[in-house]
Amino acid sequence: MKESNKVILKGEEIRQLISQIAEKIISRYGKDADRLSLVGIRTGGVYLMERIHKILKKKLKTDIPKGIVDITLYRDDIDSSLSKPEVGETELLFDVNDKYIILIDDVLFTGRTIRAAIDVIIDFGRPKKIEVAVLVDRGHREIPVYAEFVGYRIETRENDRVNVVFTEEGKRKEDAVILEKGEKKL
């Protein structure tokens, strides 16, 4: 790891933040669990969605519908993102109509990813409500997007990078949120 990189959250801290997010979702939607569903944004949001789903399944004793959206085809920078047009599959196999959807991503930054993901979901139907849950909100919104459920807020510079690494990816033995400092702007 580079010297400028800093682990800001890890292991147990992350586990607790995720369980707090799950608790908040339960306190708000526990009584509407039959209309609740979780949608993770590929790829970082999917691991977080699966973790939250596991907690909800245990506490609510019901297997709420879950889905995955891939936003590649909905990006607003699709022409300039040629280096990584990793199109993944969108899997929304349940009926989204009239559902309470919690849209889940690992990091909230400009809000453009969330904008695109909302467009994907709306192409499948008309949910009653879409709310956003993220592990880390790092600020610098470029679009009026708001996250209802936030694990951790951190001040960053616009050109910093915030990476969430879940153990499921097989890169680290422990979950971590890493802040990679960008060059100071002159």
Binding site: Y74, E89, D123, F124, G125
Partner: protein, 321 residues
């Protein structure tokens, strides 16, 4: 004349798709892999994604076609592109306009993609060199029909889970078939085994150089194959004296119930269409469970969406000459 130089970067560094010849094995798999993602879109309630929003596609068809033209049109529309159809009978071509002039006139209207079908081999390559739009070959004479080969390979992979080592028998008029040509080239690149089957008059001499087996016995080929691909017999060939009668051709090289007994249970039957029932394929074969002709059509849309998507975003740099 200033010919714009086109720079296309990224994992699919081609401005055009003119032939299977131009693709590497890796690029073929890239297209097939992307197509799998695009297939899901056609199953949605709202069958549209904004990937090519604001792009213009011209369908330039100088030869009749239903499925290829429609397939490209639907693929472009599901990616939110705007598409214009031009058929030769309704265009200035009948007034004697050359392909060069037609192309330049159309380019003045700034399309991003041009899809061409033309009876001259090499017409797609020629067009790709004179226009800055991305050119997709939808069949040029006896040369190639790359998106047909790609959708065929996609279908084979979907049913057989692999392409390497797959035994593919292509049956019929090999000599006049751009579908066969594109498939032979593509299947060779992914290391499948190809056997060509048909009367000697319809199989070019020396074709073994393309790394294929040749057989004149349909029964033998059918019992060998994982995939049997029937080609349409172009009835106009009859006047050229390449085979005596349709009936005789059908008896020797038509796929019927009797021959089908030799086909393995897990094999598949393909046909690029349009089919001539009772010539190269009998109606009970079309209804056989192993026949995947309509799946080919379905996959065609996904594969063409993938190709349009991968070709997008070429940067045009004009260089004065």
């Amino acid at each position: 004349m200033t010919i714009p130089r086109i720079i296309k970067k990224g994992e699919f560094a081609h401005k055009d798709l003119v032939s299977m010849e131009q693709l590497t094995e890796k690029e073929i798999y890239l297209i097939l892999d992307k197509a799998r993602m695009f297939k899901e879109i056609s199953l949605r309630n709202i069958k549209k994604v904004p990937a090519l929003k604001g792009k213009t596609v011209v369908n330039l068809f100088f030869e009749p076609s239903t499925r290829t033209r429609t397939s490209f049109e639907i693929a472009a529309k599901r990616l939110s592109a705007d598409i214009v159809n031009i058929t030769s009978s309704a265009s200035a071509v009948v007034k004697g306009e050359t392909l060069l002039d037609t192309a330049q006139t159309l380019m003045a209207m700034k399309p991003d993609f041009m899809i061409i079908r033309h009876s001259f081999s090499g017409s797609a390559l020629y067009l790709s060199k004179i226009v800055s739009a991305s050119v997709l070959n939808a069949g040029d004479g006896l040369h190639e029909h790359p998106t047909q080969a790609l959708l065929d390979m996609y279908t084979m992979k979907e049913y057989k889970n692999r392409l390497e080592g797959l035994k593919v028998a292509i049956v019929g008029d090999i000599a006049h078939s751009r579908v066969a040509r594109s498939n032979i080239i593509g299947l060779n690149k992914v290391k499948a085994d190809v056997m060509l089957v048909g009367p000697k008059t319809l199989i070019p001499t020396g074709i073994e150089k393309m790394n294929v087996k040749v057989s004149h016995d349909l029964k033998e080929a059918v019992s060998w194959a994982d995939v049997v691909m029937m080609l349409r017999i172009q009835l106009e060939r009859l006047t050229e004296g390449l085979f005596p009668t349709i009936r005789e051709y059908s008896m020797l090289y038509g796929l019927n119930k009797e021959i089908l007994k030799n086909l393995r249970k897990d094999a598949i039957i393909m046909h690029p269409g349009p089919i001539n029932r009772n010539v190269e394929i009998s109606p009970d074969v079309v209804n056989d469970k192993r026949c995947v002709i309509l799946n080919q059509v379905e996959n065609g849309v996904a594969v063409r969406m993938a190709v349009l998507f991968l070709l997008r975003g070429a940067e045009k740099v004009s260089i004065e000459q």
